[in-house]
């Protein structure tokens, strides 16, 4: 009888542990997944102006100093003139700054911010150590595929990039 009670107690302890592990496993897995969805910030002008020539880049992809530098030199924007009227330029700059990588409380985004050395001000998200590390298994010839064309074409593989969703399970690399 005593033995049975002990066994039962051990069994119950085991079950409790197993359930706890299972539940936390689910939570962590969920967290990880959720973590790859950048916090959704939105601004109508950013959405229109910053996506008329290229993909819409989320503010969390670069630190504040990068956005400020970029937005103050729009007449020389990667070899093209992308100047805006003063009011629009200011509104978009403040939106990008407020939601920049180094202003975020999201763990994933903080990793992006930390990957940029203090003395550097990259203007391309693809130049951050975080991006380079995350894409290190992508061969050069894959980037050159017609449906991708460039590292700046996030949505070629991350269909919901414009919504901030870079979830690893949703990646589809076009042939």
């Amino acid at each position: 009888m005593k033995v049975t009670t002990l066994q039962t107690r051990r069994f119950l302890q085991f079950i409790t542990l197993a359930i706890a592990a299972g539940v936390s496993g689910v939570l962590f897995a969920g967290d990880d997944e959720h973590d790859e969805i950048l916090p959704l910030a939105d601004n109508a002008k950013w959405r229109v102006e910053c996506a008329s020539c290229h993909a819409l880049y989320h503010p969390a992809l670069l630190p504040e100093r990068s956005w400020r530098k970029m937005m103050s030199s729009l007449n020389q924007h990667f070899g093209e003139n992308a100047k805006l009227d003063a009011a629009t330029q200011k509104e978009i700059t403040e939106f990008l700054a407020a939601h920049a990588a180094d202003r975020s409380t999201n763990r994933r985004v903080q990793k992006i911010a930390r990957s940029v050395p203090a003395g550097e001000t990259p203007l391309r998200a693809t130049d951050t150590a975080y991006f380079i590390h995350k894409h290190n298994e992508i061969r050069a010839d894959i980037w050159q595929r017609k449906a991708i064309g460039s590292k700046s074409n996030c949505a070629a593989c991350h269909a919901e990039a414009e919504k901030g969703n870079f979830d690893e399970h949703r990646i589809r690399i076009p042939r």
Partner: protein
């Protein structure tokens, strides 16, 4: 229900805001024509000059020939593509009625593209000629 009504109110508000800002390509053309007439009293928009303006090419400081066609293709009825792989809707209002219906947007793109391609700003006369040509395409 309240959310639904708020949605409807917002939608109506937005469509009104849009229609208030919308003008026709003809009106935008007249605006540039009026401006050009101030400098030259005999100015009359010319589709031929507009087409030559679009088709001219020049050597870029970055190397290589460039012109409007670099991104817009040589046929304004076709969609073009930016260097960053984004589609540019056709220039000709006959196939893209949204063209030249927002004066600020038209000024923004003339401002950027003239400086990029010609490395100077375009005159009101050049803008009027160009729109005149695009409106003549069917």
């Amino acid at each position: 229900m309240r959310k639904f009504l708020a949605g409807i109110t917002l939608a109506v508000g937005l469509s009104q805001a849009n229609s208030a800002a919308a003008v026709t390509a003809q009106e935008i053309l007249r605006g540039y024509e009026t401006e050009a007439l101030k400098l030259s009293a005999s100015f009359k928009p010319s589709a031929t000059r507009g087409e030559n303006f679009f088709r001219s090419e020049r050597s870029s400081a970055k190397g290589g020939k460039q012109g409007c066609f670099t991104c817009h293709t040589s046929d304004p009825r076709q969609a073009g593509m930016t260097r960053a792989h984004k589609v540019i809707e056709p220039l000709a209002p006959a196939v893209n009625p949204a063209r030249f219906t927002d004066a600020a947007k038209v000024e923004k793109w003339f401002g950027r593209n003239c400086e990029d391609v010609l490395e100077r700003s375009c005159s009101a006369a050049e803008k009027a000629d160009f729109i005149q040509w695009l409106l003549s395409i069917h």
